[in-house]
């Protein structure tokens, strides 16, 4: 089992639901267990659409191709099933849930993973939460604040990583987690991610970004370049450095499309 990839995407086409706007024009990608991948690409190239399609956002629809996650057809599953089988999306734009504290939110998410007759151990939960918050350099009172309600950009991103640390997914999609973070916050987030990766060597990451910056702190094994809804180049960490030097111009898709 360890040799089979955690995620295999073959020829994935995706569009905006209820509209005839195709955004993903055939994406192929394979992620092995314990690997860190990065997808880089200019604004509007379809990175978030890929992440949302993978996690089952109702606003997007896969029209062709297949996605195998943990040996199962991912596209058949509801978003909560995808999460429960180990997929996690750190949102580019986390959503505000007024009146629901982070602690309550996480408690509910963890309880939902248990059998109906099983009760979450609240002491364990509290311990976990506190130590994870410490890892991410968060004040303990943070857990009592309503999810993302009135949070700064940096707080929202940190909250995403906190959720990731608590839910312990097998594959984390991180959509522009670095955007809007100052250098201190960026380091805290990177430190958290690296700590998780070290803790669980089987855990895989797909880091979406359009800057090289984050990749200075989290070293990817593989880097892919996405332009115009396709992956146009894949390689090792050197691809990110190339991009940094020459920009996306050289990766424009062949005019034929």
């Amino acid at each position: 089992m360890s040799d089979t990839p955690i995620l295999t995407i073959r020829n994935l086409h995706g569009k905006v639901a209820d509209e005839d706007i195709e955004i993903l024009h055939g994406v192929d990608l394979e992620i092995g267990r314990g690997e860190i991948h990065a997808i880089m690409g200019p604004n509007g190239s379809g990175k978030s659409t890929l992440a949302k399609t993978l996690s089952g956002h109702p606003g997007y629809e896969a029209t062709d191709g297949e996605v195998i996650f943990e040996g199962e057809d991912l596209l058949e599953q509801e978003p909560d099933e995808r999460s429960q089988s180990g997929l996690f999306l750190a949102f580019q734009y986390p959503v505000e849930i007024p009146g629901v504290s982070i602690a309550n939110f996480l408690r509910t998410a963890l309880q939902a993973r248990l059998d109906e007759d099983e009760e979450l151990d609240l002491f364990d939960f509290q311990d976990q939460l506190l130590s994870r918050m410490e890892l991410l350099d968060m004040d303990p009172t943070f857990a009592e604040r309503a999810v993302n309600d009135g949070f700064s950009g940096g707080e929202k991103k940190r909250n995403e990583i906190l959720q990731m640390a608590m839910l312990q997914p097998k594959l984390a999609l991180m959509d522009e987690t670095d955007s809007g973070l100052d250098i201190d916050a960026l380091q805290v987030v990177a430190h958290g991610v690296n700590a998780l990766a070290k803790e669980n060597p089987e855990m895989s990451f797909l880091i979406i970004t359009h800057y090289q910056r984050l990749l200075n702190y989290i070293r990817p094994d593989h880097v892919h370049v996405m332009v115009g809804g396709r992956i146009v180049r894949s390689g090792g960490p050197e691809v990110a450095e190339e991009l940094e030097a020459s920009g996306y111009e050289s990766f424009k898709p062949a005019a034929a499309g």
Partner: protein
Amino acid sequence: MAESTKIQEPIGGIMEGVTEALNADAVEALAGGEPVWLAERRREAWSAYERTPLPTTRLEEWRYTDLRRKLKLDSLRRGEWAERTFDRSGAPERLVQAMDADRAASGHLVEFDGAVAHVDLLEELAAKGVTLTPLRKAISEQGELLESLLATEALPASAGKFQALNAALWTDGVLLHVPRGVRLELPVRVTRWFSAESAGAAHFSRTLIIAEEGSQVSYVDEVLSDDLPAQTLISSAVEVFARPSAQVQYVSLQRLGRGAFHLSQQRTLAERDSTLDTLNVSLGASTARLDLNARLLGPGANSDMLGLYFGDEDQHFDHNTSQDHVAPHANSDLLYKGALDGDARAVFRGIIKVHPGAQQTDAYQTNRNLLLSEEARADSLPNLEIEADDVRCSHGATVGQLDQDSLFYLMSRGMPRSVAERLVVMGFLGEVLSRLPLGGVVEKISGIVEEKLHG
């Protein structure tokens, strides 16, 4: 039947709502053994009732609740008062549960089918002169207080058709009197239960709360029943007086079964530097109408007015509020939030009235609705009537659906749709409860709301 039509005919519409059960004889039956002042007050109220037409949907205040269709006055018996004692072992399960959640209290009062069946009050409070008395008993024990304040300054018969009906026909209720400077740490808990035997009848009870100068009290009224096999009218008239610098919190928790038509008419009078907050929670009944009039009578008075409702199936909630700023330098802040599922419907109509001379008024009013189904409906009608120039007032209303992005966010964390929906709704309604500084009460209410959300 024939007789009641005969009585109505000659006057044509003016004696609407006079029925075989609700009539002058019923008033006389009550007035019979009572002191003259009370008998006269009942008769005057009855005469006001007779003279007032039944509200129609042509009236703005009743536009969305068609009484003629929703309330079958002709079919109602009169709820008879009977001597009761409370026996816990034979009590209905829901009543016992409700009471068990209320252990921490300054005192308890239990009403059973419209008659007070139990009262207790902490001895140290009784020693300080606090009284918690069944209203019927208060007629003899605290007659002077009733004579001056029952259905006079706050909710007189002239306030409206049903205020008059209640003032004429009330059978029991509660008098709470907190003397000057006395502070109650724990809430007074009142539980009013309606059994299946009470179904098909009209019940009238009154609550009179007087917090004297500098005193402090919180009061929680919970009215509940199982589903009732026939339409049952439960009329509650509530009068609350906060004397200068008093602090009062009044909470009403309505958990009646289907079949109930709940009519709650409340008036709060806040004098100088007092705080008079209310929370009205509507979860039960087939139809529930609330008329709440908060009057700010002295400078420095403050009223937070909170409301929370959650309707499903074909429930109908109608909230009619007014914030009456009579004095300058007073604040009122209203927040009513509700969620509606199934075919449920809610109406909110609120007005801020700033009387001439009530300068430096701060008055706010917000109503927010969350629709959980295609068929649910909410109408929100906020209003301002301002006759002073140096004021800060605002009002806002929203009716929205469950947001897809919020649901997706929660589901992407592994919560099934139903769990995600519940969490969003609890968060939405929770804002109201977070404003009420009454620990145990808030916990109980959120537990009950959550229970209803589980369906």
